[in-house]
């Protein structure tokens, strides 16, 4: 058993739980402010956010758990969320639920209460519920549930003060009990009565989980009960057999019955009214005939206009051209010339691959604006609820390449940063899907830093962009189709909640963008520095030249000038680096249109940057990531070779 996550012992803990998409993270950010850290739950790749908040002079630790649908976990995220409840010393569990779907959310409230956890219920998204014409009698619900209930709309900062007040005044001694039908209770008691050990969860809840064959709980109980366990397991098996026809269903229906009782007269629904604009837009976005044009509009304005023209054009132009090349770099160099006499240090800091002149300039002037604008666009789309609609639209296509619609989110994110997208593949359900998504990200999805340079590179040559795009799309589909055929494992299944479309909230977009940017800088920026140092060391020792020498014959077989070798070597350290190397080659007139296209395609397909490789290793392990590495390299050069032959034979772009 892994240990509970905790930053500090002795501080009372507030744990936020609930379904995905109910506004847990927004509440978490509101409670903790800026002082949060995100770390992996021990032994898993699931991240848990921690922070602190002060209520009425007392300090509390706040944990934001991954979304869970029920106390009986299916996904790794849910398992982690439950581990926190199971093993941590919890002062209060805040169950955040969606006001529009109380009937569906309350069964989990019941499970939490049944587990004997100290419970506070936040009925969130009240604003949307009111817009749907619902009125919710919260005081009545509170008196029926027997635990504090607070209404809120955290995305609009409504109810935050009330939540703080309820947390500060929280009385953990209130433990309501809800009874199932007597026959079911009888069977639960048969099991619960035999549990003799000390558990954090209530015995009744444990008995129910045992009856539902929860493996983790079985393990825990087996370890705690010792010799007594065999007899207990016998009783459990007996009940399971007696109720083999419908145990799961029966429990669900019982919970539903209790919830209906709790909710009687709590919710009043005003009916009628025309569909709102958001509803009509939502249905357009899901109809392929209108959804695809809508997607193209989103891509055109979001990616091309905003990220491409504004981010990679205007902002980069200003930062790189004006700020660094005209002002900062000459100043760095002048200062270095005056004070640094050792030539190796001079070279390291302000030389051709210098940390200040190259690494910092690249990070701040080139990558920051492109990745930043991309993350803004991505966060706007995310906050509006567009992605689930895109996911359902492309599900059939993605099934053909061995994924399901859900994978569209890491794939789109890959156009911003493949490294981050590789990390996000963990939200996919099966290992098979994660591996396929990782391969496709490594191979055929260019990141925004690379896209920026390649678009600038190819836009000067008519037709090159078209060949590049079609060829990458072809590789994406062919490799996907092959992977779907050859990769063993479960067939993907698609199911997704489609939240209502809403106007993105500037605050949310800002927080989401900043969180991603922060991550990007902490994870990627050090690698920029490392890459610069490696290149510097390589240049100084001559190792770089040897490496370039090895790659030169490969370049010749692709029909490229030997000078391109340097671009490919750099490309390994950073994808955009390589593209920028090509840019230099092109401006010095060394590349014909065919060579340019072949080089751009090969480089885009070629080995992911160092950061992405490290992330692949972290998520998939050495074996799989090395295999992917070799595979991607082979495909990249084979495709480059083939494309060169094709272009020469057909005379396109000549």
């Amino acid at each position: 058993m892994s240990k509970p996550v905790s930053l500090s012992a002795g501080v009372p803990k507030i744990v936020l739980v609930g379904n995905p998409n109910v506004g847990k993270s927004v509440l978490f950010n509101a409670l903790t402010g800026a002082y949060t850290t995100v770390s992996n739950y021990p032994g898993t790749s699931v991240e848990v956010a921690h922070g602190f908040c002060d209520l009425a002079g007392l300090r509390y630790e706040v944990l934001d758990t991954p979304g869970m649908y029920s106390l009986l976990p299916i996904t790794e995220e849910e398992r982690v969320a439950r581990q926190i409840l199971l093993h941590g010393e919890v002062h209060v569990v805040v169950h955040v639920i969606d006001a529009r779907n109380l009937e569906r959310m309350l069964p989990m409230t019941l499970q939490l209460a049944e587990a004997g956890l100290p419970l506070l219920v936040v009925v969130n998204i009240m604003d949307e519920a009111e817009r749907c014409g619902m009125t919710i009698d919260l005081p009545l619900l509170q008196s029926r549930l027997g635990v504090p209930v607070v209404g809120a709309a955290t995305a609009r900062k409504r109810g935050l003060a009330e939540i703080r007040a309820a947390l500060a005044a929280f009385d953990p001694s209130r433990r309501p009990v809800f009874a199932y039908a007597s026959d079911l209770e009888h069977d639960i008691l048969r099991v619960a009565a035999q549990l003799e050990g000390n558990y954090r969860l209530d015995r009744r809840a444990l008995a129910l989980l045992l009856l539902q064959r929860d493996e983790e709980i079985q393990g825990l109980v087996a370890a705690t009960e010792g010799a007594h366990h065999a007899k207990l397991q016998q009783t459990v098996n007996q009940v399971i057999f007696e109720r083999r026809v419908d145990l799961h269903l029966r429990i669900s229906l019982e919970r539903k019955r209790i919830c209906q009782g709790l909710l009687a007269e709590v919710v009043t629904q005003r009916t009628g009214g025309r569909p709102s604009f958001a509803e009509r837009l939502s249905s357009w976005s899901m109809n392929p005939w209108t959804g695809v044009p809508l997607l193209l509009l989103v891509l055109y304005f979001g990616l091309y206009k905003f990220v491409g023209e504004f981010g990679a054009g205007t902002v980069v132009g200003f930062l790189e051209g004006t700020l660094f090349l005209e002002h900062l770099n000459p100043w760095f160099i002048a200062v270095a010339d005056r004070f640094i006499t050792w030539s190796w240090l001079h070279e390291l800091l302000v030389g051709e691959y210098g940390i200040l002149t190259l690494a910092v300039r690249y990070a701040v002037a080139l990558v920051l604006p492109i990745v930043g604008t991309f993350f803004i666009a991505f966060s706007i789309l995310e906050d509006s609820g567009y992605f689930p609609r895109l996911a359902m639209l492309v599900d059939r296509l993605f099934k053909a390449i061995g994924l399901n619609g859900r994978a569209v989110i890491p794939m789109v994110l890959g156009f911003g940063c493949d490294t981050m997208a590789t990390m996000v593949t963990r939200t996919l359900e099966t290992v098979r899907e994660r591996v396929i998504a990782t391969i496709l990200l490594a191979l055929a999805i260019p990141c925004s830093a690379q896209l920026g340079v390649i678009l600038a590179l190819l836009s000067a040559t008519p037709g090159a962009l078209l060949v590049w795009t079609s060829f990458l799309l072809l590789i994406f589909l062919v490799i996907g189709l092959l992977a779907a055929r050859l990769m063993p494992g479960e067939r993907p299944m698609f199911y997704m909640e489609i939240p209502p479309l809403r106007l993105p909230q500037p605050g949310n977009v800002l927080v989401k963008t900043l969180t991603r940017m922060q991550w990007y800088f902490f994870e990627i920026f050090p690698l920029f520095i490392v890459a610069s140092i490696l290149l510097w060391a390589g240049k100084l020792t001559g190792g770089l030249n040897i490496l370039v020498g090895w790659v030169q014959p490969v370049m010749l077989s692709l029909g490229l000038p030997v000078e391109a070798a340097a671009a490919f070597i750099f490309g390994f350290f950073r994808r955009d680096f390589g593209a920028a190397g090509l840019y230099d080659l092109q401006t010095s007139g060394l590349l014909s249109p065919v060579q340019l296209t072949v080089a751009a395609v090969t480089l885009t397909l070629f080995v992911p940057c160092v950061a992405q490789f490290m992330m692949m290793k972290k998520e998939r392990g050495w074996m799989v990531s090395l295999l992917i590495f070799v595979f991607v390299t082979a495909i990249a050069f084979a495709s480059g070779w083939g494309l060169n032959r094709l272009l020469l034979a057909t005379g396109w772009l000549a």
Partner: protein
Amino acid sequence: MQLSAKAEEILEALWIGTEERGADALPFAGLGVVANDDGLAELSRLAYVEVRGDRVFLRQEGRFEAMMTVRRHRLAERLLMDILDLKGKKGDAKACEFEHLLHHGVDTKICTLLNHPTTCPHGRPIPPGKCCEEARAEGSVGVVALTELKAGERGEIAYLSTADAKKMQKLMSMGVLPGNQLHLSRTFPTFVFRVGNSEFAVDDELAREIFVRKG
């Protein structure tokens, strides 16, 4: 009174030969009987069939019973192959034994359970029984998979057919529980439906596991 198994087999073969294949009668050889067969004697006594020379004719009096025998056989086939998953030769053989048990309203119950099927697994028509006529008259379509619904239709979730516990939990966590109202808004490119105030998208594979009572 109930016919013997042998008599039922003869009636069945006669119905298929005359009604479906268009013959006016069948020879002894075609029925696999000899002149002094017990089953044949039983049917002649009831005036269900008439024997002329070595040819057996199905009489007007025997038509209804013959039709019901064929119906029971094909219902048995459906039950064995669709629900009990007995296919091929073994399924055929078991269906031949099974059909003789479907009397006294058992056939009606099985027919309702199977939602009044119209063809057997080999594609031949199942003669409709009284229960099928009644269901048709009431316009009740019974319980169908979500994939059979058209966009815009609604229904009450009747049951989930999946045997996969994980699938079951996914569906239940979306609020797809028997008794809940479901409103289907799209069937392509994926199934989109509303339960309560939430909308969900699922693929064909999951949609096939959700059974709803239309209306």
